[in-house]
Chain length 462, copies 2
């Protein structure tokens, strides 16, 4: 604790109303340090489970263990739901079995699914064992659907009504129901074969007279989600069509559950996280991973980068003679490669993002490739002028100016094309373009950059 | 049309159920080409406004104009809402004034706000003029709030009830109301001074007996959003606390509107888009921007990159003598710089993302910096061994192996620290770390990489 507060504070990021301040965290850790359970519980009481989870992720492993042991019976199941996967297992291991059992029993079945699906066998069994029979069956049924499918995401409890009912019948039915789902926004109308045929929002139901037939109140926008659909597509549908909740159906089109917008929002957020981290070659990491684990996660991409950097060096090695006679080339050559890499990354990111949002489709793929090629050519010409002038001014050689200018045009044109075609091809072959494209694109721009610059120099200058 | 279909199709991205297929697009464009209004309307009829907007974004400007003129009176206001800003102005310019007026009159006032806030003065005036008086006043009041604030995002129509009402009173009130908002999920309880004191979900209201007091049904989770709060913070609160809707209050804490999760989801998606594009130095671009516009948007980042690449070249120039005596250095030096750049980008992306999700705060900033430094050191040692061996094997010089190994350790350690400290410092100074950090980090790794490698070589090898 003490050396934490003694450290200079100049680099601390801005704090705001949704982030737990340093002082609040310090007070909590101080209570833990003094084994003062009452103060700890009092300090944690106003915090939302999501904020407690963030706190647990941000403190060190030793303090985390002590805090959890002291907090003990107060530990809420929702905190587990909110925790990052990387430390969820650790926290579950720390909790006493009866505390864990109590915590998971409070959760909705879809939250339990989310909680257990990534756990190792023994921990998964411990949690399933703690559930009541009905809940355990529901969780096991959900786990039978493929990972990342709508079946894993949906809640099984839905409010439905036969399509011929009136508003009054629906309201009476709900008022007499033993339990209603925690979150629901629609009554789903079903036909006699249990096929969903429409949604009635609760707001409309509320405002209508009792004798109005439900089918007169259905929403225009009605989409049914197949239970095996990928969660990424589910999130896309919610975002594209502004859905609030959608019925989920099995292979025969029968209603088996419902997905609500809050679940879709979480998936959307995770997809974004994955895209941004994959583009940088960071994989699945989280801030609470250990040093060794983080280093290990980053090695593959660095190794691939090393291989491509060596490839680029092999190109340079072909021109050792040229360089030894004209050392200025060694000084200038990284500029051409670097500009190509940057322009390629720009095109690549636009393409990866457009593929993710489905703005880049079969209908405009050629228009986009053409556009990126022209953008590369145009910016190549702009920076050819600039670098040609710099080359001339710096080394006093018009030849060198021409060479670097020509190499710049070639490399930026290639960068625009490669930055667009490579991710499109990846997607076509079923590989996540965010994951794999970056390496290919910078390999292309490095190799082309060095080859064009040194090759032209060999012809023009020697 | 014709040269579109003749093009090879091998690169077309995968199509799925949420993307309009090439054939559907071709049929629509064919109808436009033949001026066949009936077929066009029939083909467009089943499409959601969001899909029509995507279609308009994906086709060329000439076809877009013809399609819109032919579609004419069918043009729905929601299509305008869904259109990307980059072509929204163009489309508004194409629409006949009476069609535009009809289209915007169908929209909810918060959608009109979103539509007009980025338009130029004459177009904005044309749309405001088309609205009925009450709607226009509502839009103008919303525009009085700062851009990107909760006030711009909220809907002004809310359903509220005095805190002492019962379920029956609330239901009767709603049933007798002339109009209810299009989307609402809660009844907001207010005290006599119009301060919101709790939320009752419609589901709970529905399930309760008529004589139950509303205040017995309020949700545990209740957050009030200040009207001046930044929309980014609003989206964070919805995502963190799984809010479905939240009341918005003015400076005196009085209820002035409500924000729903679907609005927050759109903001979250925009923030992600901005982050990912800014990290790549692409700014605000969209696929439907023109070539010249796109090229212009990308110049600033390329210019900054050129400046930093020249800085790195100046470092190399200090060692021209060394290189001319030992050309192998020119072959190997890009490897050290490239590895540092990649490792720095990894650390940087993790830090930028963690700042955006508020996982990196004052409480763990020093732990994260330490962790990234250690990860850099560890991976530096791994790749020092690999590159030392490669250098030795390739050029048969143990000295060269030692030099490249040492430079690798130094540069990857520096990359880890710079990749973390720079974005944190940017955030501290109120600059978006996604926008500005990349340049600084790669400048540091380029300069350090070349300096360490060539400097050590000068000492060890010569």
């Amino acid at each position: 604790m003490d050396n934490e507060t003694e450290e200079p504070q100049i680099d601390a990021p801005e704090e705001d109303e949704y982030t737990l301040g340093r002082k609040a965290v310090a007070a909590i850790l101080d209570a833990v340090d003094r084994d003062d359970r009452d103060t700890l519980v009092a300090l944690m009481e106003p915090l939302h489970a999501a904020d407690i989870a963030d706190l647990l992720e941000q403190i060190g492993s030793y303090e985390r263990t002590r805090l959890i042991r002291l907090y003990d019976r107060e530990f809420d199941g929702e905190i587990l739901s909110e925790l990052d996967e990387s430390i969820r297992e650790e926290v579950i291991g720390i909790l006493a079995p009866h505390v864990l059992a109590e915590a998971v029993r409070e959760l909705e079945s879809d939250d339990v699914v989310d909680l257990v699906e990534d756990l190792e066998e023994p921990q998964q069994a411990a949690i399933l064992g703690a559930l009541e029979d009905a809940d355990r069956v529901a969780v096991e049924q959900a786990l039978a659907y493929p990972e990342g499918s709508a079946g894993r995401l949906m809640q099984r409890e839905v409010v439905m009504a036969p399509e011929h009912w009136t508003v009054g019948q629906a309201i009476d039915h709900m008022r007499n129901a033993d339990t209603l789902p925690d979150q629901f926004y629609h009554v789903i109308l079903v036909d006699p074969r249990m096929h969903p045929v429409g949604n009635v929002t609760l707001g409309r139901l509320m405002a209508a007279r009792r004798d109005v037939p439900l089918r007169d109140l259905t929403e225009d926008m009605f989409r049914v989600i197949p239970v095996t659909q990928d969660e990424e597509d589910v999130a896309y549908a919610f975002n594209q069509y502004h859905l609030i909740s959608a019925p989920v159906v099995d292979d025969e089109g029968r209603l088996v559950g419902a997905i609500t917008i809050d679940d879709a929002m979480i998936v959307l957020d995770e997809e974004h996280e994955e895209d941004i981290l994959r583009l940088a070659g960071v994989g699945e990491g989280s801030l609470s991973d250990s040093v060794a684990e983080t280093a290990r996660q980053r090695v593959p991409w660095l190794a691939v980068n090393l291989a491509t950097a060596i490839l680029a060096s092999l190109v340079i090695a072909q021109f050792e003679d040229t360089i030894s006679r004209y050392v200025a080339l060694a000084v200038l050559m990284p500029i051409v490669a670097s500009m190509g890499g940057n322009a390629g990354t720009q095109s690549l990111t636009v393409a990866v993002r457009a593929l993710a949002t489905r703005d880049l489709t079969g209908s405009n793929v050629w228009r986009v490739i053409r556009r990126e090629a022209l953008v590369g050519l145009l910016n190549g010409l702009v920076f050819a002028l600039v670098m040609g002038a710099v080359g001339l001014a710096w080394f006093g050689s018009p030849g060198l100016g021409y060479v670097i200018a020509a190499a710049m045009v070639i490399n930026l044109l290639v960068a625009g094309v490669a930055g667009t075609v490579i991710p499109i091809a990846m997607e076509k072959f079923g590989i996540d373009p965010a994951l794999a494209s970056g390496t290919f694109v910078t390999t292309v721009t490095d190799v082309v950059g060095f080859f064009a610059f040194l090759g032209l120099a060999g012809i023009v200058l020697l």
